[in-house]
Symmetry: C2
Subunit: 116 residues, 2 copies
């Protein structure tokens, strides 16, 4: 299974190489250490949201564009989700609003919906 950080790292690296720029240049522009950027590119470190934004700024690309590309790459290999197995809740799924008396147990309400 493709790991998200690997795909993000590959996308960032591909963008940098398309620009003929070195790790040193981009890490300097993004104000991260060269080693850290290298690890992010190789999918060995999970980049924080701020760091991702900073690297994208340094590369002159939009994070949203990178994410869209990554989502497309991931979609090509990601299987359809398995059906959800929902364990019947022991507690009401939705608590009554404050000050509103719970006239009927929420569980009973859920049963009505399920039976409808």
């Amino acid at each position: 299974m493709a790991v998200l950080r690997t795909l993000i790292g590959e996308a960032l690296r591909a963008t940098r190489l398309e620009q003929d720029r070195t790790l040193r240049e981009v890490s300097g522009a993004a104000r991260v250490s060269l080693g850290y950027l290298s690890e992010v590119e190789r999918g060995q470190k999970e980049a924080s949201s701020e760091l991702l934004a900073s690297i994208c700024r340094a590369l002159g690309v939009r994070l949203s564009d990178v994410l869209r590309d990554v989502s497309e790459t991931l979609a090509a290999v990601e299987p359809q989700p398995a059906p959800i197995t929902v364990v019947p809740p022991l507690e009401p799924a939705v608590a009554p609003a404050e000050g509103v008396p719970a006239l009927a147990p929420a569980r009973a309400a859920a049963d009505v919906v399920a039976a409808a």
Copy 2:
């Protein structure tokens, strides 16, 4: 500026609420603590790639679909990237073609381009 983890958290939370499921149910299915999932949903914790995949599995959605939605939300608010400021390299960015003598230092060639 919208932070990526906030958008991802909001997307996961919206998906869970659409399914009328509690934090307890989904955190149990995803094998993460309830408190951690809650922090991820509120954009207070950066979820690892594995954790994101696990939460998506628990929700029965594909991570690639979540990412695509998030990229679209981000694209609506993210400004166009600023032009890249590339520091002139000290080494030649492009080596002369094989067999072509480098008559002038690459740095001088870069200056010519800059002055053109």
